[in-house]
Symmetry: C2
């Protein structure tokens, strides 16, 4: 997905939020905003938003000297999600369709996102998403692909959400490789966050090699690219991964909640809609 004009003010807003989480020093935050404001002119509009996110968060690290501003927030989110884990597992156990319920739970976890929203009510939003209609619902294709797949590549998004991913991974019944960011960026899940979320118990964890808050293939390392190219099913969580991969010709299933107008428009859904979507190129090929 390309960068839209609406993304530009949003980059500034994100820089302000993240700057405030990294430091109380208003002068440093102003310096950060000055830099980000001037960086915007160098952003090619055909680059994806997480590429710019990567540049912004590098600048945050550089100016504030804080390597992982969201560390405490991530730890708290993982802790809160782990407390909910037994209840979430019970919801799956009691459901008529375990896989679909686990998918809904994995999407519900996607509300834990400080890149887009500052505040959320986790338990309330879970209840809502468990009943919410999907705006795009390629569940049948998901089930068919899952049956055929030898193994699954699962692209993580946020720390905390990662605990919800564990629920879905437990229902897939296939070997799963869980992909994390190489470097802390916003509250995105890193290797240690994934381990803290208990994902090492259900999946092999690898890094994408990238510090972008989304999967940008040309920023990823060779190991990830190899896995991505050979995978017979890829599950991609959240907006950042969708933004980077929306146009790829691989069997990707995007699980996300549309949290901004730009993404909603790109997906032809409404803001706050939930989506289970197969990648367009694979979908078009199966129709032909």
């Amino acid at each position: 997905m390309k960068t839209y004009l609406d993304c530009l003010p949003c980059f500034m807003r994100q820089a302000l939020w993240a700057g405030r989480i990294a430091t109380d020093d208003e002068k440093k935050i102003k310096e950060l905003l000055d830099h980000v404001g001037c960086m915007l002119q160098d952003i090619p509009m055909d680059s994806t938003p997480p590429q710019t996110g990567d540049l912004i968060y590098r600048k945050i690290r550089e100016i504030t000297g804080v390597f992982d501003p969201y560390k405490k927030i991530k730890q708290a989110n993982i802790k809160d999600a782990l407390k909910l884990y037994p209840e979430l597992k019970q919801i799956v156990n009691k459901s008529d369709n375990r896989l679909l319920t686990a998918i809904r739970i994995a999407i519900a976890g996607n509300i834990i996102d400080f890149g887009v929203n500052k505040t959320f009510n986790l338990e309330e939003d879970i209840r809502k998403i468990l009943k919410q209609d999907f705006a795009i619902f390629h569940f049948q294709q998901f089930v068919e692909q899952l049956e055929r797949a030898q193994s699954i590549l699962y692209l993580g998004d946020n720390a905390g959400e990662s605990v919800f991913d564990k629920i879905l991974i437990g229902e897939l019944g296939k070997p799963v490789t869980y992909v994390v960011r190489e470097t802390p960026v916003i509250n995105d899940v890193t290797f240690s966050d994934a381990v803290d979320s208990g994902l090492d118990q259900v999946a092999k964890i690898i890094s994408s090699g990238s510090s972008a808050p989304g999967t940008i293939l040309n920023l990823c390392n060779d190991e990830f690219i190899r896995q991505f190219e050979k995978a017979d099913m890829i599950i991609s969580k959240g907006q950042g991964n969708y933004e980077g991969l929306s146009a790829v010709d691989r069997p990707v299933f995007f699980l996300l909640k549309a949290k901004c107008e730009v993404i909603a428009k790109h997906l032809n859904v409404k803001e706050d809609d939930i989506v289970l979507k197969i990648s367009d190129k694979i979908s078009q090929r199966s129709i032909q």
Copy 2:
């Protein structure tokens, strides 16, 4: 009022909105955002937000070549407000306190503001504001000052809102000078907008001499400054005028709805609260 860090992303957002109203050419809008993004580093944080607004809207005129992007919107808003005028007048006629009701109506008109909000429901918001509690309510001081005043300087804000101002001016019972912007900026009221609103029937109309979307004294012309310095009562409408005048030592009464978090914090009220506030310096002096 100074510029806060939160104002910086908002300047970008405002530039995007205004750019889209001025032109459909995405490249020109991108050029505008590039310029505004880079301008931010030169903004002194102790300048008031309308000073930056002035620079941004100059840039919009320069890049798009459109002198008054909001012209049609302003004309439509004035037309809509004029349709409501007889009904508003009836509301005042039927009320127990004509002056207070007219003040409420004048504040209700302040929701017509494309600088802060893109959308509003005029009739619904009027009904709400007619019943809404004031978060700051210096009505007694307003009445006392009005009784003593020989004449009143009334600082207009938006076109359309200007029709609502006519209702309040009709209840003041003193000679009124109505101040408009020199140059079109956002949807702020200019001389011709004021005439179209019928204000020439109830007030003398003068220009502030400034193209800023707010009253910044050092950007105003000599005639306005003279009137401002000798006025024994000043009524200031809206956020932009408040931002420019919040610290002045003149008998200013601010009538506004707090439409953003920054203003709300500065006034120590909540977003969407309505305010009738005497300037702090005059208020402090009367307490001493």
